[in-house]
């Protein structure tokens, strides 16, 4: 394998992490996720790593609905779902669920961005490669849908890490991709 340095110039990996709290009140409500990209960059989403706490029962559909929201140079926005139904995280990501009792509620650890909880460490396994290029947009949008048919006895938590790359417009142009036409 001969490395061509120019192929990597200007592209950088970016891992985006969010932690969500699911309560009995919002267990059927999609939680929006939006990450604002730096101006002039697209994002290539390669894989998703996630884990979530579970009750003893099957908590139902604990999934992710990804929306493809274009913001083209013409400023015409549109939405397109990437799945017909919210896809359970356990079917597209790694390392999946852990027992609720593995979660340590406050006051143990301590960070607002982490919702004040920590959890047992998990063993990473290989996630599915999604390989989706979000092109010419300012935000990555998807909704996490926590649909559950039973009452939750405890608050549950879910970690989601998007593993992908920031790609500058100049590189997109160099690849010969046109505005707003990629992935159409």
């Amino acid at each position: 394998l001969k490395i061509i340095i120019d192929a990597y110039s200007d592209i950088q990996p970016l891992l985006i992490w969010k932690r969500y709290k699911i309560t009995n009140a919002n267990r059927k409500v999609p939680i929006p996720f939006a990450y604002t990209l730096p101006f002039g960059f697209s994002y290539f989403l390669e894989t998703i790593v996630s884990k979530n706490s579970e009750q003893m029962q099957d908590i139902g559909r604990f999934g992710i609905a990804m929306f493809d929201t274009f913001i083209e140079f013409t400023r015409q926005a549109r939405n397109r779902k990437l799945q017909s139904e919210p896809t359970p995280l356990s079917l597209i990501s790694s390392p999946i669920g852990i027992d609720h009792v593995s979660y340590f509620p406050p006051p143990a650890p301590v960070d607002q961005s982490a919702l004040g909880v920590s959890s047992k460490s998990v063993i990473l396994t290989e996630p599915i490669e999604l390989d989706y290029l979000y092109i010419y947009r300012e935000t990555i949008n998807y909704d996490l849908s926590f649909k559950c048919d039973i009452d939750l006895a405890y608050d549950l938590y879910c970690d989601v890490v998007l593993n992908g790359y920031l790609i500058p417009d100049s590189k997109i142009a160099a690849w010969g991709l046109k505005n707003g036409t990629c992935n159409d």
């Binding site: 394998l1 970016l14 992490w17 990450y35 790694s94 650890p109 990473l124 970690d159």
Partner: protein, 163 residues
Amino acid sequence: MDIFKKVINSAEIFNIQSKQREDRLLIEGTIPANGCSLFKVSVSNDGHFLSQFLTGKYTTLATVNNVTVDTGVSYLRGLIRDQGTNKPLFNDFIPLDLFCSPGRMKSDLSTTLSTDPAASPLFYHYKLEHLFTINSDISIEVKNDSNQANKFSICFHGIRIYK
């Protein structure tokens, strides 16, 4: 067996190997209780470094009832930065168990060492493809949410490219 179907051009391979080789960079350290520390590793003047994967391990110690025990909880959160471009590669401090494999390791500081579960096997090397330029640094800032010091090691696996 497919390798026997290919013609191996040794001259070309030696030519490539003279310009690039496999390499690894290691960052490790200890973060004090409830602390935050910055660690760096130099890419050095040997050449650019193309990171391909990273692996990592860490301890999960805490003080419970005045005794140091291995709780198995992921207390460390880290943020990796390319000092060459001064750009963060993470949006936030990400729990180490979400990007480090094999992950938790045993610690001889645990008072329950003999009964602590064994460390995990290396299961998944996390893909982190990035070109770090010659003479730059790779840094990781790590926060420890535990009331006990914890340590970590992260290894970047990649290819050294001579200028």
